[in-house]
């Protein structure tokens, strides 16, 4: 076998091996998206009920709760970025990190200091490489977060929030979150949202008439808010993590699909090249044999 042909065959073998890996990852991600989507759906009733409750309490109680009132002169903000633990997901983590950079720039313009809380190895290594300060980091569960993981993250944020930012360097006045919204299998958006103080309470449908009414609080509105808001933040963080996980799988599936397609193209063009090389080799061998036979024939004809 000629040298050229051998090189082509070797490259084809390596591309085929890579293709097997990317194809496997594509299939794994595809099956996990469905599961992740179901988890998002399963967590929605709780999040909706909680949102409904928070909006009711916030609207119909006159309590000045630290969690709902905006600081007059905010000093510091916490930014929670949710990224992936592993790569091979195209621009998924990068998009979230970039969204974070934009938000941080925006907050700096407003004269706020920022504290970074990072979920996922990708964001952590991005910050570490740039020698930035990290106030909190959590890794190891980005593709399958549990409620306990979300609670741990949320509790760290709330802890920083209840400290007085004016005197305590660890305190923050605002909490922002950056996650990747799972719109559909094909569309995922990195987006930034403010969690605290409460902004607009989002709801897809307007509250039914007569729903918001005077509530009786037991024991009283203040205690209810105290108990409600940490849960609300936990649920928001949990929902963001689940959506991000679903987005991560979708992004990975897409990236691996295009890698598999590229491998296919590469194998096809390498096969063509290898065939041409083989044919050239055969043609050369034939012409060598013919040439050799001719030489032999003319040599023996001369001797007679």
């Amino acid at each position: 076998m000629g040298a050229q042909l051998r090189i082509y065959r070797r490259r084809m073998r390596s591309v085929k091996a890579t293709k097997k890996i990317t194809k496997a990852m594509e299939l794994i991600s595809a099956s996990r998206i469905v599961k992740a989507q179901q988890r998002v759906a399963a967590s929605t009733p709780y999040a909706n009920e909680l949102t409904r409750a928070v909006s009711a309490v916030a609207t119909y109680s006159s309590v000045d709760h630290p969690l709902t009132t905006e600081s007059v002169n905010p000093k510091r903000a916490a930014v929670l970025i949710i990224s992936a633990d592993r790569g091979m997901a195209g621009a998924y983590s990068n998009n979230a990190i970039k969204e974070g950079e934009q938000l941080v720039a925006l907050l700096r313009e407003r004269g706020l200091e920022t504290k970074s809380y990072l979920v996922g190895r990708k964001a952590v290594s991005y910050y570490k490489f740039r020698n930035r300060e990290i106030s909190g980091q959590w890794t190891g569960f980005s593709d399958n977060p549990t409620y306990e993981d979300a609670r741990e993250v949320a509790d760290a944020l709330i802890e920083a929030f209840v400290l007085d930012a004016q005197v305590d360097p660890n305190g923050v006045d605002e909490i922002h979150i950056i996650f990747t919204e799972f719109k559909s299998m094909l569309t995922q958006n990195a987006m930034a949202k403010r969690m605290l103080p409460l902004e607009v309470v989002e709801s897809d449908t307007p509250a039914p008439a007569g729903f918001l009414q005077m509530y009786e609080f037991e024991p009283n509105a203040e205690v209810v808010l105290d108990a409600l808001l940490p849960r609300y933040i936990q649920a928001r963080v949990f929902n963001a993590m689940l959506q991000s996980a679903a987005s991560e799988h979708a992004a990975r599936r897409r990236a691996m699909k295009s890698a598999t397609d590229n491998a296919d193209d590469l194998i096809k063009s390498l096969t063509r090249l290898a065939n041409a090389a083989r044919q050239a080799e055969i043609t050369q061998e034939i012409s060598e044999i013919v040439g050799g036979a001719d030489a032999l024939a003319s040599a023996s004809a001369g001797s007679e």
């Binding site: 009920e49 009414q213 509530y215 949990f238």
Partner: protein
Amino acid sequence: MTLKVELVSPTQRVWSGEAESVSARTIEGDIGILTDHTALFAVLVDGQVSIKGADGTTTEFGVSGGFLSVANNRVSILTESVN
């Protein structure tokens, strides 16, 4: 007239449907909810929640903390974990 009851945890909807009455333990003590209860928002402590369904069967859940909200014959119970 029945109550529309939902018992939800962060990971799933545990129970939902029509019920005659709901009882739960709040910070201030046990509470029973029947139809046309006034709008209420209560903090629950660890304990039992029992729901008497419209078909007469009673289901009990052990909850660890949570909230109970009642409005317009709609009861939602939010809890972190159910066992």
